[in-house]
Amino acid sequence: MYIIIALVALVFLVLTGVVVARLQNVLKSVNKPDSLDTIPSGNKINGAMFIVVLIIGAVAITWSYLHSREYFLPTASSIHGRRVDDLFWFSMGILTIPFIIVNFLIFFFSWKYQHKKDHRASFYPDNHRLELIWTIVPAIVMALLVFTGWKAWSDITSDAPRDAEVIEITGKQFNWIVRYPGVSDNKLGDYNYKLIDPQNEVGIDLSDENSFDDFTNPSEMHIPVNRPVLLKIRARDVLHSVFIPHMRVKMDAVPGLPTKFWFVPDKTTADMRSELNDPNFDYEIACTEVCGQGHFSMKMRLIVEDEASYKKWCSEQATFLQTYPEYLAKVPENLKAKAMKYIPAEAAAPADSSSTGGGAGNSTSLR
């Protein structure tokens, strides 16, 4: 397929080779007369090159665009994503017009008005009406683009609906960790970066009762389809950026400055697999802010599923306290009874005495 692009390149190469050869001939014949001649050798050839490059370039760009489309991202899987895409292609469509006109004029004029003997250029220093036209027309087009862009931008960045599913995603060198608010209270507990340790990777503050049923996952994020999802984004060490290409979602993760982004995914992973006819398709979360050696591989799987399977998955996840019962020691005395609910029965007894105990061994972290 792209062999053809390579062929186009080859054509260019051959063309330039021809030009080289021709120029050399012209050079030999023209070089001898008086050195005061100001018209450089090969003026005609260079003029012709503009037309040649214009035509080949137009064909090459059209062709390469048509053949690249199959590699572009599939139709966006979120509501705002399709709006952004529509706006993008609409703007690109509008901008293609000046792209073609301007480049055509540059190349065509260069060829048409190349030096001719005994010909004189027109003395044409200004024309206020013309200048006014090409100040006002771009200004109007810009106003249109600004308006549509501004509408989309303010809708996308507006406050998330109240019923949005809130999920926290934390970037660190070099993976993402998601934290869910848990099935019982559906509220994310507080956090504090000073509480971070090898098990408590996102610094969950266990003195906040909302944190008792929170659970984390370092490898995949599940979200329900057709419901607003609000990502609360944090970074632990350096800048990262949450990028979900198929959802058209991107927002930086900044240490010390929590950010957010909400969107409504409306195609499940299964939908996409059948749509693209690719049983291995998966949504992916990537990092787009350079963060060090592993920047290119901070991958997290994203699974979009229907409400029922999402609820089921959530209920199957072990809460943080279940995984590391020894952290019960960090829960204040008055809340201990409440926290005990989240501790598996067999682990509850030893956890009381040792806080540094066995938890470290079966850590699921991917440090």
Binding site: P125, L130, V146, V238, S241, P245, R248
Partner: protein
Amino acid sequence: MSAIEGLETAHHHDVEHEQHHEAPNFWQKYIFSEDHKVIAKQYLITGILWAVIGISMSVVFRIQLGFQDANMSWLKPVLGGWVSETGKLDPNFYLALVTMHGTIMVFFVLTAGLSGTFSNFLIPLQIGARDMASGFMNMLSYWFFFLASVIMFASLFVQTGPAAGGWVIYPPLSALPQAHPGSGLGMTLWLASMAFFIVSQLLGGINYITTVINLRTRGMSFDRLPLTIWAFLITAVLGLISFPVLLSSVLLLIFDRHFGTSFYLSDIYINGEALPNVGGSPILFQHLFWFLGHPEVYIVLLPGLGITSEVIATNSRKPIFGYRAMIASMLGIAFLAFIVWAHHMFVTGMNPFLGSVFMFLTLIIAVPSAVKGFNYITTLWRGNIVFTPGMLFSIGLVSLFVSGGLTGIILGNSALDIQLHDTYFVVAHFHLVMGAASAFGLFAGVYHWFPKMFGRMMNTSLGQIHFWLTFIGIYLVFIPMHYVGIAGFPRRYYQFTSYNFTNKFMDMNMFISVAAIFTFVAQFIFLWNFFYSIFKGKRAPQNPWRSNTLEWTAPINPGHGNWEGELPAVYRWSYDYSKPGAKEDFIPQNIPYSQTLESNFPHENELIATEKAIESQNFNDQFKNAH
């Protein structure tokens, strides 16, 4: 004045020499020279050397990106330990390459190499001055740049590698040596080098501004200045306002790195340790950085546009269309350049309302840019175009400027930037509009003013071949790169195999890499032509392009003070090409209207009366004034 003062000082220190006007020795003439022409050449040659290094780096990482399985062992002699035993490029060094490529090309090649060369060379010659306002400061400017260059170059050889956080060096990555090897000594050297670089830019900029304002020859009013000088003046003002902000952000970063402050650091847990820093904001750095960073784009581009204006007018044999509109649009661009910086930060978590404001301001820039584009095209219209290599590169610049500028309208739209931010679409956009366009400005300038610089001509045919290979090559590299960006490929990725959504388009990336290598190889034609012509080129006539500006009235090899005898007086603007009725198709600026009665317009005949007054005032000749 100070140019002469400088010489005198040197003279006083030099006990052996008695005579005032005796020829300077080798060191004074070629190394610690205060002559703007020599300094310009120093900038040019240093810039070319940096360009070779910077572009070579891009070839290495293009090989990495286009040929993921390539065995790079053959680069071991150069890269040493950065290529593993199995011939793989080190991922940390990949980031270092990307970072240094950006830093070198933006600052050392396109800022110092372009502005430094042509502002220095052309300002005194085109405004009719003996030299810069302060030759000594001018010399300091170059040597601070040299010092910055030495430090930056040294950082390439540091054990832990040069700086590697991207050319924008966002903290906390750049502030924390434990976060990345490139944030260690390499980053320290980067910051030190940039501090000296900024000093150099400020010394240069103050000089350019002062010279343009104070040392214009008699009759050279602002509305007769060639557009090159307008561009250099506006560029210098931009640099003077924005570079100090970069210096302050760099200093704060140095404080965070070495003195335990928390300007940019807060809530960080790294390498098993929670840092004590709280209250800082990494976003603050981004604001400060882009307050320079965005004007920097125009610092790089405006000189190119100025050179293009001059070269296109000369070689179309037509006055530049809309001289005043060209100045107005440059002023407009320069003003807007300061109030659009946050369009680099739409998705940093900045308040979305600010995003709306900056989107609006950003898209306004399209208007003066469109005016410039259309004015260039109208200048070509009904011209009598001579395709000198300089002209070809200028035409190419206009094409690249427009093609790359249009996608800026997409990226300046905050809603669209969500998806495209930090993808290859951005890379393609700014390489076309700022990188390639400015580089074309540099080439156009070198080809056009080479005869004035070295008294010899460059080979025209080689220049034309160089143009076509480069022009086609640039488009072959960057048009496909837009497709890669639309497909969502993020920048600064060491390889694309980690994700399913990027694990495709392999042959496109390969194609881009091949095109990049092709374009790189084509530059050796220029290098050969340049260095060969310095020594062996055909001798240049005094005014090879039949141009109007003052530098072509100076001797072929202008000596100290540029003109022998009196400084030329200026009676007209520099764009009287193909004037109806005139004998030749050009009338240099120093020809009075009283000598061109056949081609004068009525309002110009009225100006004949002022000629005596212009002739008699000669305030600015540095050789005549006591100092």
